[in-house]
């Protein structure tokens, strides 16, 4: 859920950047076209034939196009903002959910740290290095976490939170 939101956010961010670039280029084109028309109008007074009308329509169409793109870009940017908030909310809520389970299992402070690092997919040896303890200690703390949580290993520990996420949908 969260991963989807993150990749969605990155995609919408790229879309916003692309739209902006198109807006910049198209604005310049629109100004060029309209400037040409106005120059013809006030400049030499030669303003005849269907050609000029084609230019005017084309120029106005480009201005309309820019206006539409700006509107679209604002929509995309709002979407990015909403996704960012949603992601943050999801992250915050997940952290709360995890904390609640840890409380329920009566984990000690060290066990909480180890359990959280496990949930982040970090290997026992790495956890030992991060916490500056022996890897035997981490194995023992991990075993205590599994015992208190009533599971027989990491996959089952994950599945508890996975289930919580899916149930939350």
């Amino acid at each position: 859920m969260t991963a989807v939101a993150v990749s969605d956010r990155a995609r919408t961010g790229r879309r916003a950047a692309l739209l902006s670039a198109v807006i910049v280029v198209q604005t310049l084109c629109a100004i060029f076209f309209l400037g040409d028309v106005i120059g013809d109008l006030v400049g030499d007074g030669q303003f005849e034939g269907p050609h000029k009308w084609v230019e005017i329509v084309a120029g106005l169409a480009m201005v309309g196009g820019v206006a539409f793109l700006i509107f679209e870009l604002r929509r995309v940017m709002n979407r990015v903002a909403i996704l960012e908030n949603a992601t943050r909310a999801a992250q915050g809520e997940m952290a709360d959910v995890i904390e609640a389970f840890f409380d329920e299992w009566n984990l000690t402070a060290s066990e909480r740290d180890v359990a959280l690092l496990m949930l982040k997919g970090i290997e026992n040896d790495e956890i030992a290095r991060i916490r500056g303890t022996a890897s035997g200690t981490v194995r023992a703390q991990g075993a205590a976490v599994f015992r208190k949580a009533g599971v027989d290993g990491r996959p089952q520990l994950f599945s508890i939170f996975m289930e919580e996420l899916l149930a939350g949908e």
Partner: protein, 199 residues
Amino acid sequence: MTEVASTTSGARDRRAPDGVTSVKVWDPVVRLTHWGVAAAVLGCSFLFEPEGNGADLHQLFGYVGVGLVVLRLVWGLVGPRHARLSSFPPNPMAALRHLTDLHRGRRHVHLSHNPAGALMVYNLWASVIAMGVTGYMMGTVAFFGIDWVEEAHEVIYGWIMVSVVLHLAGIVLDTVLTRVPLVPAMITGRKRVPTDRLG
């Protein structure tokens, strides 16, 4: 003027290192128009002389510069919060107050432009448009060869060069005093603000 203390923008990022909060401030349109105008000014000033074989490109870069300023002004009306003109209204008194505050060691962090920077922004925009208008006039039948138009184009050019130097000096000063790196902010769109200044 959006002062940080009064804003809790939704666009904070947790990934910034401790003690620093990364806040999304400049959207892609702001950044593209900023660097585009900078490139147009540089191109017109140093790369393509108005006389000789660079004349066409000089004009083209001039049009591009004015076009980008026009787009930025429209974006200043309809764009997101920090890009809006209403986030940094031209206010000489506020600018003066900002400078005296800096002098006294009170260093407010502004998410949009600071009041002094805002004045510079309007000054640069007006100057670029004035360059475009006088430059265009020089090419018209009615004003071709008229002295004061040419004179004005050159005086404003001098003014832009002075402004650019002041602009750069202001960036350096603000970056040093508030510890918010402004140049990376205009490239990545995110201001890295020391968290204790977010209030």
